[in-house]
C-alpha cells in the first residue's frame, strides 16, 4: 500500500521480544486471575498468618529464634511459584494454541523462541516481584528475618522456579486446550501444596510422608527454602531433585510442544 506500506527506518533489533513481553505483561494484568491468585492471595495469606498472635511465637524451645510464621514464608513462596507456573502459564499457552493464536504467530517472523521467552519472562518476572513483596512485608510488618543463607536461598528459588515452569510447560504441551490445562494445573496443585507443608508442616509429617514430600517438586522446594532461610546450605538431594524435575519435564515439554 503506497503510504502505509512504506518501510519505517531505524528498526531496533530485539524490539519484537520487548514488545511481545510487554504485551504479555499487560494481558497478564488484564486477565485478573493471575494477579489475584498468584500475587494478591499469597500476600493476603501472609497478612492473615501474621495477624494470628500464636504464629509469631517460636516453633519450639529448641529453635528459640524461629516462629511459625518464619517457617510459613518459604511455603508461601512455593505457593506463588506453583500458582504462576502450574495455573497461569499452562492455561495461557494452551489457550493460545486452542484459539489459533500460536498458529497465527507461526506465520510471522517472530518465531517460537520469542513467544516462549515472553511467556517465561512474565512468569519469572511476576514470581520475582511477588517474592520481593512477600519478603519485604514479612520483614517490615512481622519482623520475619530475611534468608540467612542468601546464596543458598537464591539457588533454591531459581531451581524451584525452573522445575515448576518446566512442569507448567509440559502441561501446556500435552493439554488439548486452555480449560484442560486449567483443570490439570488445579488438580496437581493441591497435592503438591500439601507436600510443601501448606496445611501440615513437613517437619510434623510422619516419616513416610516426609520422604514423599522431599521427592515432590514443591516439597523439595519448600525444604530447601526453609533450610537456607535458617542459615544452612540447602541439602544437595533437594537441589538435585529440583534440577531433575526441571530437566525431565523441560525436555519432555520441548519434545511434545505443538503449535496447533
Amino acid at each position: 500500500m503506497s503510504n502505509p506500506a512504506q518501510a519505517l527506518p531505524g528498526r531496533v533489533p530485539g524490539s519484537a521480544l520487548r514488545k511481545l513481553t510487554s504485551a504479555e505483561f499487560k494481558l497478564f494484568a488484564r486477565e485478573r486471575a493471575g494477579p489475584i491468585w498468584g500475587v494478591a492471595f499469597p500476600l493476603l495469606l501472609l497478612i492473615i498468618f501474621g495477624s494470628i498472635p500464636g504464629f509469631r511465637s517460636p516453633v519450639s524451645k529448641a529453635l528459640p529464634g524461629v516462629s511459625i510464621l518464619d517457617a510459613y514464608v518459604p511455603i508461601l513462596i512455593a505457593f506463588v511459584l506453583a500458582m504462576l507456573a502450574l495455573n497461569v502459564l499452562p492455561s495461557v499457552l494452551a489457550g493460545y494454541r486452542e484459539k489459533g493464536i500460536l498458529r497465527r504467530l507461526a506465520t510471522t517472523p517472530v518465531g517460537p523462541g520469542r513467544v516462549l521467552a515472553a511467556q517465561l519472562a512474565v512468569s519469572v518476572g511476576m514470581t520475582v516481584v511477588t517474592l520481593v513483596l512477600l519478603l519485604a512485608v514479612a520483614r517490615v510488618a512481622y519482623q520475619v528475618p530475611l534468608p540467612r543463607q542468601a546464596g543458598g536461598f537464591a539457588l533454591a528459588a531459581l531451581l524451584a522456579a525452573a522445575a515448576l515452569l518446566s512442569i507448567g510447560l509440559f502441561i501446556a504441551a500435552v493439554a488439548s486446550g486452555g480449560r484442560m490445562a486449567n483443570a490439570v494445573g488445579a488438580i496437581i496443585f493441591f497435592p503438591l501444596m500439601f507436600f510443601a507443608g501448606l496445611w501440615l508442616p513437613i517437619s510434623s509429617m510422619p516419616p513416610v510422608l516426609q520422604h514423599i514430600s522431599h521427592a515432590t517438586p514443591l516439597g523439595a522446594a519448600a525444604q530447601a527454602l526453609q533450610d537456607s532461610w535458617q542459615g544452612q546450605w540447602p541439602h544437595p538431594l533437594q537441589l538435585v531433585t529440583l534440577a531433575a524435575y526441571a530437566v525431565v519435564f523441560g525436555v519432555a515439554a520441548a519434545r511434545l510442544f505443538r503449535w496447533e
Binding site: A16, K99, G100, R104
Partner: protein, 305 residues
C-alpha cells in the same frame, strides 16, 4: 509478469485422506489470484503448504524464489497471511495488536495509517474480544498487511460478513492489489471470485479442474445458455427444437424456457422474428462461474463436499 508463487505437482494426504491430489498453479506478480472450490476441495491445505505451515508429501513450491519450509524466516518477512479462524488474545486492544505485529518485521508498514485505511481508527482502544465479525476480519487483514508484504494470502476473507461488509472488503482488496501487492485469495464463493479475481484456479477433490480468468472459464466451459420468454401468439415447440443450436425446450405456464449453445439466443430470436412472434419479457440468463464449475466437474458446487 514474473511468477511470484509457483506450485508444481503438490500432493498432501492426512492418513488415508488425500487432501491435495495433484495441484499446480502459478500466481503472477500484481494479480488477485483466486483458489476457488467447494469446502473440502483442498484449498486451505494448498495455501498452508505455500505458507510453510505444512510440509507437502510431494511436489515443489516456490514463493518469491523461496522454499516455504527451508527459507521460513525470510518467507515470513515477505508473505502476509490471513488464516481462516485465527484469533487474538481477547483482551489485546486493536492498536496494541497492530503495533505488536509490526514490531516483528524488518520493514513494517505504518500501522497507524493501516488502521485508518481499514476503518479501525475509532476501535484503536477496543479489545479484540469486543469486536464484531467484520471488525475482526478487517483487523485480520490489517495484520496480514502490517509487514508490508509483497504477497498476501487471504483465506476465506469474507465468510461470516454481511453483504455490505463483504462489498467493502472486496473494494479494499482491489485497493491493496492496485498498490502492488500480489494477492492469493482462497474462497468458496463463486460470486466473490467472479467479482474480484484476475485469474482463478478451480479446485475440486484435490485437483485443479481449470485455470484462467473468470470470463475465460465461463466461455471455455461451454456451459449452456438459457433464455425464457412469453410468445405473443401460440407457437409450436418444433419451431425451435429443430434448430441445431437448441438442446431443450420446456414450458412453464405461458413461459417458454429454451436452452442451447452460445448461439442459441441469435438463432431463437431470428426464427421468432421470421414468424412475427414477439418474445415478451425475454430474459437471457448469464452463464456464471457457478455454471462453469458444474460443467467442468460434472457435479453441483454445493454437493461436491
Amino acid at each position: 509478469m514474473p511468477t511470484v508463487v509457483d506450485v508444481q505437482e503438490l500432493h498432501k494426504s492426512y492418513g488415508a485422506t488425500v487432501a491435495v491430489d495433484d495441484i499446480s498453479l502459478q500466481v503472477e506478480q500484481g494479480e488477485i489470484f483466486g483458489i476457488l472450490g467447494p469446502n473440502g476441495a483442498g484449498k486451505t491445505t494448498t495455501v498452508e503448504c505455500i505458507e510453510g505451515l505444512r510440509t507437502p508429501d510431494r511436489g515443489q513450491i516456490s514463493v518469491l524464489g523461496l522454499d516455504p519450509r527451508r527459507d521460513r524466516a525470510e518467507l515470513t518477512q515477505r508473505l502476509g497471511v490471513q488464516l481462516q479462524d485465527s484469533q487474538l488474545p481477547e483482551r489485546l486492544r486493536v492498536g496494541e495488536a497492530l503495533e505488536l505485529y509490526s514490531s516483528f518485521y524488518r520493514a513494517p508498514a505504518d500501522w497507524r495509517k493501516l488502521m485508518d485505511v481499514l476503518g479501525l481508527a475509532d476501535k484503536r482502544d477496543s479489545r479484540f474480544g469486543k469486536l464484531s465479525g467484520g471488525q475482526r476480519q478487517r483487523l485480520s487483514i490489517a495484520l496480514a498487511l502490517v509487514g508490508s508484504p509483497r504477497v498476501a494470502v487471504l483465506d476465506e476473507l469474507t465468510t461470516g460478513l454481511d453483504p455490505q461488509a463483504r462489498r467493502d472488503t472486496w473494494a479494499l482488496i482491489e485497493d491493496v492489489r492496485d498498490r502492488g501487492v500480489t494477492i492469493l485469495l482462497v474462497t468458496h464463493f463463486m460470486e466473490e471470485a467472479e467479482r474480484l479475481c484476475d485469474r482463478v484456479a478451480l479446485i475440486d477433490r484435490g485437483r485443479v479442474v481449470a485455470t484462467g480468468s473468470p470470463s475465460e472459464l465461463v466461455t471455455g466451459a461451454n456451459a449452456e445458455q438459457r433464455l425464457r420468454f412469453r410468445p405473443s401468439v401460440p407457437m409450436a415447440d418444433e419451431l425451435l427444437t429443430r434448430l441445431p443450436e437448441v438442446t431443450s425446450l420446456t414450458r412453464r405456464g405461458d413461459t417458454v424456457v429454451v436452452t442451447g449453445n452460445e448461439n442459441v439466443v441469435n438463432a431463437v430470436t431470428s426464427v421468432l422474428a421470421a414468424h412475427r412472434i414477439v418474445a415478451q419479457q425475454l430474459r437471457v440468463e448469464q452463464t456464471s462461474l457457478e455454471d462453469a464449475f458444474v460443467a467442468l466437474t460434472g457435479h453441483d458446487h454445493d454437493t461436491a463436499r
